[in-house]
Amino acid sequence: MKRGGHMPKPLYNHNKMKSGFQADRMTGSSKIRTRAKKLRQKRSTGYMEAVKQLDVNGCKMTTDQYEQLIQVMDEEFADIPNGERLEGIVAKCYLGDEFEVHALDLIGNIIHHYKKGEAMPKNLERARRIAQHGSYAYIEVYQSMLIAIRADGSGSVIN
């Protein structure tokens, strides 16, 4: 991701990333149904805590911390048959007044805190407004939908 001003560096080599979200060979309407049902299920406490660290650690997150986060995410979605990739997570940023949201871009392996008016990658930009709302802990960004996750781990789907 290239943007003017502060340019976040990829946290580590993309090739090394263990991807928990690559499409597997499972297809079929039952898998789609199962996937949709599981994506609506409550997120675990461990997962919620891990995502919170995005704001706590900011851009100072180390590679190890990042890998740990990805591992937690892999475990959370392990039994979900794939069809669509989780592209990123966007949440309200509490680092300071000048910051609006922060985002974990899973495609570019980048964590960045966005200031007011600073543009985000196109696929994550659509989550900006709802991430700022304050009623949701964070927003999961998929190719064809957003899932707004509340503090209790329950989610709402936005198609």
Binding site: S29, S30, R33, A36, K37, R40, K116, R126, A127, R128, R129, I130, H133, S135, Y136, L146, A148, S154, S156, V157, I158, N159
Partner: protein, 572 residues
């Protein structure tokens, strides 16, 4: 030569004439401006008259439509009375026979004779042989009762089973009631059910059934919902349905509180949409609270409640009457919506599902939840249906709210003529005013640059000089005079430039002043808008919590305690 000498006085005269001509041209020009303004005023008035006229025509059309609709309702009601009036007689007899039998004030033979006559009045109608069977049962004539019962079951097995389930329950014959109910359940397919399932839900929600039957109902309902949930796309369909129903609770926003946003902001349609949904939270909360806070209007003893459900069963669920009932429903919705056919049709699309002959069980639940009266369901049943549909309702509500929240615009745009500005929260008024002024000043400068002498002025000057020069050469006074027109024309042209420039400056000063007011108003409205939006949006959490707290068990009346007390007393 001497005739050609023009005196100074004559030249002065010519100059005065040209000045006068110039003044008259100015006068004509100002008259033209006045006429233009008057034309603009007349234009505005004509527009007002036109829009008033259009409104009048719409009102007239609506009134006429309402009158025609009322006449249509009367006509359809008369047709229903003519074609199905005799059914009504038989229905009244059903309860009459039961109540008369309770009181033992009428001879059994009389009851039997009446039912015999009913058989003749309504060939093909299931209730007639069912009443004969009932009368035969009261008279203790088993052979006749069996025969009549077989005929009733042949005509409509499900209704007959339900009827006798309730009749037996009314007579405190729990085992028989449970058997008949079990028989009815055995005929049910959760994917394709008739509306009369409402009767079972009425009985269940109002505590009509004994413990065995109640347990059977609870298990059946649970199994049906589980079975339906496993079907592909089922849950999504329920959410979609509830999403539509909740969406229909929004009211159109006419934007009267935000006139500048309505008229000057291209972002208004998005703002209006999110505000409409935010305002709907209160209405949705009130809708459900009204239902759940209302006390059951089914007070009375068990017999009274059972009679009401029986009446419901025999009155509301006949397929032959369905088309006419649908027609009546649509017409009455048009009356309710004051002639707004589009709105009426939208409601009809949802409420008509309540009249569909065959639907899956969840659709019946939704229909009862949204339009209990149309389904002939009781209040408690509506509460039960909503609580059984709770998960789908909450999902739909949450999803719809999240979607609307994601559509709140990041920037609100203001457009004044060709200038556009934007704000995120109405807090950058000074910046907007400054940008607007810069834009207008640029435009003004460009316009001022265009105010200059035109080609014709220079042409006239050159032509005039040439003519005058030639006139001097040939000493032709007339030519000299004509040539002088050129410079004079140029002079008056130059004199006219400054007033035009002044007009332009004044015009843009006026625009800037007006635009500044618009920007101030715009920023104020944006602040007010987001204040209102946040206030209304905050109702969401309360409504959500309320819905989460609903449980099916709260709304099932329990007659068991009373029964246990009676049994204990009897046993003692």
């Amino acid at each position: 030569m001497s005739e050609r000498v023009i005196s100074q006085a004559n030249l002065n005269g010519i100059e005065r004439s040209i000045s006068s001509l110039g003044r008259q041209m100015d006068f004509v020009s100002s008259m033209v401006d006045t006429v233009q303004n008057q034309v603009a005023t007349v234009d505005k008035r004509v527009e007002i008259v036109y829009s008033d006229f259009c409104r009048f025509v719409d009102m007239y059309r609506q009134k006429t439509l309402l009158i025609e609709t009322r006449q249509e309702i009367e006509s359809v009601s008369r047709t229903v009375e003519k074609e199905f009036g005799h059914y009504e007689t038989i229905r009244r007899h059903a309860i009459g026979i039961l109540q008369a039998s309770d009181l033992e004030v009428i001879k059994k033979e009389t009851i039997y004779n009446v039912t015999e006559r009913l058989m003749l009045d309504a060939p093909g109608y299931w209730l007639a042989p069912a009443l004969v069977a009932l009368a035969a049962w009261i008279m203790d004539n088993k052979e006749l009762a069996d025969k009549a019962l077989k005929e009733a079951m042949k005509r409509d097995d499900e209704k007959t089973s339900l009827f006798f389930s309730l009749v037996n329950r009314r007579a405190d014959r729990f085992d028989s009631a449970t058997l008949w109910l079990d028989r009815y359940f055995g005929m049910q397919d959760p994917y394709k059910m008739e509306r009369k399932i409402t009767v079972v839900l009425d009985g269940y929600a109002n505590g009509i059934y004994g413990p065995d039957a109640k347990g059977m109902c609870a298990n059946k309902i649970k199994r049906w919902i589980q079975e339906l949930s496993e079907k592909d796309g089922f849950i999504e369909e329920q959410r979609e349905q509830w999403s539509k129903a909740l969406g229909n609770m929004q009211e159109d926003s006419n934007g009267e509180d935000y006139p500048i946003l309505v008229n000057k902001s291209p972002t208004w349609s998005e703002l209006s949409s999110v505000l409409q949904w935010a305002r709907a939270h209160k209405k949705i909360g009130s809708y459900f609270k009204e239902i759940f806070d209302s006390h059951s209007n089914q007070k009375g003893n068990l017999k009274e409640k059972t009679d009401k459900i029986l009446m419901n069963l025999v009155q509301n669920f006949d397929a032959k009457e369905l088309p006419k009932r649908l027609e009546l429903k649509r017409l009455s919705l048009i009356i309710e919506e004051q002639g707004n056919v589009d709105k009426a049709d939208k409601r009809f699309d949802i409420e008509a599902k309540a009249y569909e002959e065959y639907e899956d069980f969840s659709q019946h639940l939704t229909s009862i939840a949204l339009a209990s009266e149309a389904n002939g369901a009781m209040k408690n049943t509506q509460k039960l249906a909503i609580s059984l549909s709770k998960e789908w309702i909450i999902d739909a509500y949450e999803d719809l709210t999240a979607k609307k929240r994601s559509k709140v615009p990041n920037n609100v745009v203001l457009k004044i003529a060709e200038w556009k500005g934007s704000t995120t929260d109405g807090g950058n008024e000074t910046q907007l005013v400054s940008e607007m002024k810069d834009h207008m000043k640029d435009k003004m400068e460009k316009k001022l640059e265009d105010v200059k002498l035109e080609g014709k002025h220079w042409g006239m000057l050159i032509t005039g000089i040439c003519l005058a020069g030639y006139g001097l050469m040939v000493m032709n006074t007339i030519l000299i005079l004509i040539g002088l027109i050129g410079p004079v024309y140029l002079f008056f042209g130059m004199r006219g430039l400054e007033p035009k420039r002044e007009d332009i400056r004044q015009y843009y000063d006026g625009i800037i002043e007006d635009s500044e007011k618009v920007i101030k108003g715009f920023c104020a409205e944006v602040v007010d808008f987001f204040c209102e939006y946040e206030e209304e949006d905050a109702y969401y959490e309360g409504v959500r919590s309320y819905l989460m707290g609903i449980s099916p068990h709260h709304f099932i009346e329990n007659d068991d305690k009373k029964r246990r007390m009676i049994l204990n007393k009897e046993g003692a």
